[in-house]
């Protein structure tokens, strides 16, 4: 059974770690959504929040091709980092996969894709990680 990279942000819905949903909190007072956990609403500070699954589809707000990776990055170099805007409002950063660099466009539709990633040489470090993929 694969473990989610962050159970507060990504809920897995099958044992293979290939399906899941991004988690967020919706404010019952003002309707604002945030990606990931929150105790009070980020906007109005109301405590009346409910956990929701966020949309799997969004648009690419911005992107960059990272040539010099941060320490500990377990993926390919270079990699595409995308900032995706979800219809509920939050922006979610993740790698954009399966897209040639020349096909990247601000505003292009992308959808959630999960990949299992392990840290080089570290046993038990495999995690299901959320990524973006062009539609």
């Amino acid at each position: 059974m694969v473990i989610s990279v962050d159970e507060r942000c990504l809920r897995l819905t099958d044992e293979s770690g290939e399906r899941g949903a991004l988690l967020g909190m919706r404010c019952l007072q003002c309707g604002v959504h945030v990606f990931g956990p929150a105790t009070f609403c980020q906007s109005c500070t109301s405590p009346d929040l409910e956990e929701v699954e966020l949309s799997a589809d969004g648009t690419l707000y911005s992107y960059t091709i990272v040539r010099v990776p941060p320490s500990g990055w377990p993926g390919p170099v270079p990699y595409v980092l995308g900032e995706t805007e979800l219809p509920e409002g939050p922006h979610v950063l993740a790698e954009v996969i399966d897209c040639a660099h020349e096909d990247l466009r601000v505003g292009m539709p992308v959808t959630l894709a999960l990949q299992t990633v392990g840290m080089d040489g570290i046993e038990g470090s495999e995690r299901a990680v959320y990524k973006w993929r062009p539609v």
């Binding site: 990279v5 962050d6 942000c9 604002v32 980020q42 906007s43 707000y61 911005s62 992107y63 960059t64 091709i65 990272v66 040539r67 010099v68 990776p69 941060p70 320490s71 500990g72 990055w73 377990p74 993926g75 990699y79 980092l81 900032e83 805007e85 409002g89 939050p90 922006h91 950063l93 993740a94 790698e95 601000v106 990633v117 840290m119 995690r127 990680v129 959320y130």
Partner: protein
Amino acid sequence: MSQFRPVREVMVVGVGLHAFGRFPEENLSDLARDAVVDALRDSGVPWSAIPVAYFGHVYYHGMSIGETTLAQLGLTGVPIINVENACSSGSTAFWQAYWGITSGVFDMALAFGAEKVPSGPVTVTAENSPARYIGGDHMMAGYALRMKRYMEETGAPASALAQVSVKARQAASMNPYAHRKETYSVEDVLNSRLIADPLTLYQCCPTSEGGAAAVLCAADALDTYGIDRSRAIRVAAAALTSGNYNGRGSDHSAFSPYRTEPAALQAYEMAGIGPEDVDIAQVHDAATIGELQQIEALHLTPFGEAWRATEEGRTALGGDIPVNTDGGLLAMGHPFGASGIRMVHETVTQLRGEAGPRQVENARVGVAQCSGAGDVTTVHILTR
């Protein structure tokens, strides 16, 4: 609506620097101590008269490093507070020094900051954070995302962003304290190695080491301590904010620059001035895009137009709104704990008319703006 009620007028009466660069022979305390000694000498105030000190730094060099650093000057028993607030650690220390005095608690205060840093891309999260798997914790990749979006929205050409870096080096070539003093062209900047498209190496600030310090004093206590009134510079506003959802940051963008705006508005209100009154600005240019977006968030130009002001030379020395007159983070380098106080150092030096070849004619109002992870923003306004 300001929640702050300054009671006493506060002046900066001394500033000091340890040069910025790489100093393998010196430890954090050495860098910090040299800056403090320089600031004390500049102020004419002896260490024995300082009642409180705030030390900005980010990387861990052992507990109570501020105390062990200042122990070299004498064990005077005063409170010493270690401050970590990301890239704004130094400016947060300055902010605390200001509020310690204006509140009436202290007559004087020392704010200082220094940093020893590892090389390579800067990350914000802890070593075992899920962020390492996700690949988004990369300071310059964050700036690259902002830059791509900015260029898309405003039509700014790559050359306009490169010009920010060219301008920084021109200023730094006249600054003996700067890490990078050699000048270069727009082509050099654009042809330097790509770090995260479209951001090239010469558009990213170097990770540097250095120290900075400032001595602050209540205006009503200057004579008590025999301080030269003619070189004292007034702190007209000191604003510090964290993420403000209802600011312009509510576009949810992870790297929204507009989180500076609430701090800027608070500072202008405190100072009783507007952006049109600003003569010089030091802003957080960790990358070229940072300078453009901070200029806009400070309302020094309309949103989306700072790149034009840069192309027209308006933000260079000799322009009508000179920005980062000492070379900024891009050329000074960025020792996190020191940078915010380094901006105060340059502002004070300019307002005193002591900036030599970099001097901006008749500068009377200066803004120093510093940003940090966690949406920390400081905006200080200094006036002559």
